[in-house]
């Protein structure tokens, strides 16, 4: 039996408040293997760690149990402590008597009893711990950024700036994302394209950056430092290396009635198209779903006209496979569909638009070439009603419970713009609250109210009814004056909630990164590790982690880049030694473990177990690649014969814990 030391932490009153720590130390001190047991207010402090180090030497401890917080918090700390005292770091066990005990119990007697049981389980386990030594794995000095909006662009530029190769995968034919569709940016009102386009061009020209536009991530295997990613490059039927972006094909293409995504379907494009003038790469795409050549076999006009010979109808999707050390998710957002909000008559009137559609109307390259006009009859609206929180802060189940965060500011921007350029326009904004935290944000909003005379009304619009004369009858309540309002409006703008892009969920599955119930990526720690995913080597940039505006996105993109750079700067990563191993004598070679392994860490080889020479004892057995295995343990429970076991969490160790708890 090993000589075990037990160290019970008070964590101030976090543990000591509902657990009698002295009683825990005393009771566990009487366990047969325990030769030393004590308690201390903060075990993780330097003084606390010194108690452990001294006890290891003085009492010749062969195993250490620290009863404290979750091992996620301080296991690494205490491993270093025992290592400094000459013990193998894996001869330490942490009994979580905080998150799993003191924090969830109110009654001190119950809490104390449970803490003792958890301590006993750890003592039973540490008896069977084996000294483990961490291996090393190399780091591929290349990063992948998934999503080519401002978040992805900024992350890629910053990583490239540090001298590392970066690939951007963007599913659209061009990078740029939502910011390309926006007219002006708050709170300074500079032109969105003017500040974004140079960054897009920088990406294209940077030697370290490769842009895979019109491409999607298909599969991800591997682990931090060593991801292997399959990228599907969708056929654009135009040879990217030959196309000069002259635009002849897009002008001459006879199919002219395809809804234009860039203008959110408010006008049409050709089947051969370049999304917008500043597209990067400036290469045409042929939309096979609408192209006559693909639909009927008759046409081929673009191919005849292309002087570069870039059109290739035979092009097929290609899959490329690349290795990366780090992956950044920057998949962005979309406004929610507002079709289900019948009360706002979005699907009944062309003059009820979403804020992003309004943005397109305002922008010079939009469907109205920047003139504020109604989509129904082209007339300039005289009365505009903005409705905020359409689907945001919505607990009815119809929309999203969260605040979309950007709507208050862009609505103030829209309202101000209308009053600035068309002073004869009456502008109403209906809001639940106006939220403008941010540098120069509240000043911006106040300008809209005080300087531009926008009517801000606290209250929600109950109904928008299109009238025969083309106006929109808006019925609303003013909560401050407590009266019903009836406004005859020419245009209604809905500040639709934003939601993560639909591609985020399948991507999270591929990355084994976790998500919240709204499909936003979860951070490793909400406060202290906000740009890292809990999956090592996966980082988060932009709205895919939560609603945020452009300045915040850019700041987070830089933060994610710096984390990536920190990782890529290392030559080797130390591996987790708690990995699976296969007992060849018991392995059937049935492949069940390989089927459940999410990391592709298990391969098979035919091994000769024969003592005779008739070759009758060649058996197929599993081999674990220790650098790839992440120690999840899926194989150990799937193995029918029990040949797979996890170092540091062996079946016998876990059974010993269970036995100790059930005693």
């Amino acid at each position: 039996m090993r000589r075990i030391g037990v160290f019970v932490c008070h964590c101030g009153t976090n543990i000591a408040g509902t657990v009698d720590v002295k009683a825990v130390a005393e009771t566990l001190g009487k366990e047969p293997a325990v030769v030393f047991s004590t308690d201390y207010p903060y075990m993780c402090s330097e003084a606390g760690q010194n108690i452990i180090k001294e006890a290891i030497k003085e009492h010749k401890l062969e195993g250490v149990v620290v009863c404290s917080c979750s091992p996620r918090m301080h296991e690494a700390t205490f491993r270093k402590t025992v290592q400094a005292a000459g013990l193998n770091p894996y001869l330490l066990e942490v009994a979580n008597i905080r998150e799993q005990c003191s924090w969830i119990h109110k009654d001190k007697t119950e809490g104390t009893a449970k803490a003792i049981v958890l301590g006993r389980a750890a003592i039973a386990k540490v008896q069977l711990n084996t000294p483990l030594i961490a291996g090393e794995s190399p780091v591929v000095k290349r990063a992948l950024v998934i999503g080519g909006g401002i978040a992805g662009i900024q992350t890629a530029l910053d990583i490239a700036d540090a001298g590392y190769e970066v690939d951007i995968v963007e599913k659209q034919p061009t990078i740029g994302g939502k910011m390309t569709q926006i007219d002006k940016t708050f709170p300074t009102l500079d032109c969105s394209s003017c500040i974004l386009t140079p960054k897009m061009v920088d990406c294209a020209q940077n030697e370290k950056i490769t842009i895979y536009s019109y491409s999607e991530v298909e599969a991800v295997t591997g682990f931090v430092g060593n991801f292997s990613v399959k990228i599907r490059r969708k056929a654009r039927y135009v040879d990217e290396t030959k196309c000069t972006g002259c635009g002849v094909c897009t002008e001459k293409c006879p199919v002219k009635n395809v809804p234009n995504e860039y203008n959110l379907g408010m006008d049409n494009r050709h089947a051969a198209y370049i999304p917008f003038a500043q597209a990067i790469p400036n290469v045409a795409v042929i939309d096979a779903a609408h192209c006559n050549k693909f639909k009927t076999g008759k046409c081929g006009l673009c191919q005849k006209l292309c002087s570069a010979g870039a059109i290739n109808y035979e092009q097929e999707d290609t899959i490329i496979e690349e290795k990366y050390g780090a992956i950044v998710a920057a998949t962005g957002y979309n406004p929610i569909s507002v079709d289900k909000y019948d009360e706002f008559a979005y699907s009944q009137s062309k003059d009820v638009v979403t804020s992003l559609e309004f943005e397109r109307i305002l922008k010079a390259d939009g469907p109205t070439e920047g003139h504020l006009q109604r989509m129904s009859d082209g007339k300039q609206p005289k009365t505009i009603v903005f409705i905020q929180c359409v689907g945001s802060r919505d607990t009815s189940g119809c929309g999203k419970e969260y605040c979309s965060k950007i709507c208050c500011m862009y609505t103030a921007k829209h309202a101000m713009y209308c009053r600035e350029k068309y002073p004869d326009t009456e502008v109403y904004v209906f809001y639940i609250d106006v939220r403008t935290p941010g540098k120069n944000y509240d000043e911006f909003y106040r300008r809209a109210v005080e300087q531009y005379g926008v009517h801000y009304i606290k209250g929600m619009v109950g109904k928008v009814s299109p009238k025969a004369d083309g106006t929109l009858h808006v019925q609303a309540s003013d909560l401050i004056s407590n009266e019903q309002l009836h406004i005859s409006a020419d245009m209604v703008v809905l500040a639709a909630a934003i939601e993560p892009d639909k591609s985020a969920r399948p991507l999270a599955t591929m990355l084994t990164a976790s998500m919240d119930t709204n499909d936003f990526f979860t951070e490793a720690h909400a406060k202290l590790r906000p740009v890292e995913s809990p999956t090592a080597g996966v980082f988060l940039s932009g709205v895919c982690q939560g609603p945020k505006d452009i300045p915040e996105t850019v700041a987070q993109a830089g933060a994610a880049a710096s984390k990536v750079i920190g990782l890529l700067a290392k030559n080797k990563l130390s591996c987790n030694p708690c990995v699976s191993q296969s007992n060849e004598a018991m392995c059937n070679g049935c492949s069940t473990c390989a089927n459940v392994c999410p990391y592709g860490a298990i391969t098979y080889e035919d091994k000769d177990f024969s003592r005779r020479k008739d070759g009758s004892m060649i058996r197929r057995v599993a081999v674990v690649n220790e650098a790839v295995c992440q120690g999840c343990g899926a194989c150990t429970v799937a193995c029918p014969s029990g040949a797979m076991d996890l170092k540091g969490f062996s079946t016998s160790q876990i059974m010993a814990e269970v036995d100790a708890i059930c005693k």
Binding site: P506, T509, A585, M586, C587, N588, G589, C590, S591, T592, N595, V596, Y604, D614, G615, S616, M617, I618, R619, R620, A638, P640, S641, G642, A643, T651, S652, M655
Partner: protein
């Protein structure tokens, strides 16, 4: 049929296609033919095939496919599912096996004949819908349907799913076989009733290990029940807990891999309906993850070792339980 089989086997043996034949020979009694390996064409004189040849030969191929040369095996429809499952698990080298698939209309359960009053059985013969039993006390003709084993009454498939050549016509899968009816009846019981049912059945277990030894899915190099390190090895059922747990652990171990060949129940000397445990798992998996038949296709991914986006969430299982 026996003559055709022996003829074809000796042809394949003589032309060098196969080095040995796996089939059946007579056991101590006519109604217990035993699996046997025939190493020469001459040895085939002891080869038998009749309505009592119920045993599934697939499992023997794990060892035989490691030998030099090809092995000829005769597989009935249900045996071929086991064969495919073993192929999926890489236990058998397909290149080393030559399969003759057999048309099958069900195997006779000797216990049923006894119930029908047959003593001193000398032989059986299928004649149309009936079987003719020759006994020391004269001939008896019985409807074959009344003499079949349980697994043949609820036969899931008469289709041989893996073969190089067939003797007779290949049959069809029968999705309306009703093999889950008894499981549904057990599910309808209260937990107490169900516990009593299984205690009644499992308390008869003498822990002879026949079910495990015959089971094609139980082919581990080192069974957990034989491994002192596993913490569950024990030769005898020391207490009621052991009796229960042995079969439950075994059912869990073969879950998703069991083809429902029914050998476990057939060989149980205590007539414990062990196949019901396996069928419960199969039924649950079908309901949660869509219809899946282990062994229908070699190389298929069983739902328990596969993940698809359509997989039901665990909450579905809770809801299902709550709705009962």
């Amino acid at each position: 049929m026996q003559e055709v089989m022996v003829k074809r086997a000796s042809e394949l043996m003589k032309d060098g296609t196969v080095s040995r034949v796996l089939g059946w020979k007579n056991g101590e009694f006519v109604y217990d033919p035993t699996p046997a390996v025939f190493e020469s064409a001459e040895a085939l004189s002891a080869f038998v095939y009749n309505d009592f040849c119920a045993s599934n030969l697939s499992k023997y191929l794990i060892a035989l496919s490691k030998k030099n040369g090809k092995t000829l095996v005769f597989l009935k429809p249900c045996d071929s599912y086991s064969f495919n499952q073993l192929l999926t698990e890489h236990r058998i080298d397909r290149e080393k096996i030559y399969i003759i698939g057999l048309e099958c209309s069900g195997k006779v359960d000797e216990a049923k004949l006894r119930e029908a009053g047959c003593e001193g059985i000398l032989s059986v013969k299928t004649e149309g819908e009936d079987i003719v039993v020759d006994t020391l006390y004269g001939e008896k003709t019985l409807p074959k349907a009344d003499c079949l084993g349980e697994r043949c009454i609820t036969c899931k498939s008469r289709k041989v799913v893996a073969f190089d050549e067939m003797i007779g016509e290949n049959g069809e899968v029968n999705s309306e076989c009703g093999r889950f009816d008894q499981v549904a009846a057990l599910e309808a019981m209260t937990p107490d009733e169900r516990y009593e049912f299984w205690r009644g059945e499992l308390s008869r277990c003498i822990r002879c290990n026949a079910c495990r030894n015959i089971c094609p899915a139980c082919s581990c190099e080192n069974c957990v029940f034989d491994n002192p390190k596993s913490g569950i090895s024990q030769k005898a059922a020391a207490d009621t807990f052991e009796e229960n747990m042995f079969h439950i652990i075994r059912a869990f171990h073969v879950a998703g891999r069991c083809t429902d060949c029914g050998e476990c129940s057939r060989v149980c000397p205590q007539q414990i309906p062990l196949h019901l445990l396996n069928r419960k798992f199969i039924k649950d998996m079908n309901e949660c993850y869509g219809e899946y038949q282990a062994g229908a296709e070699a190389g298929s991914r069983a739902p328990l070792v596969n993940y698809t986006l359509d997989d039901c969430e665990p909450s579905v299982v809770y809801e299902r339980e709550a709705s009962k």
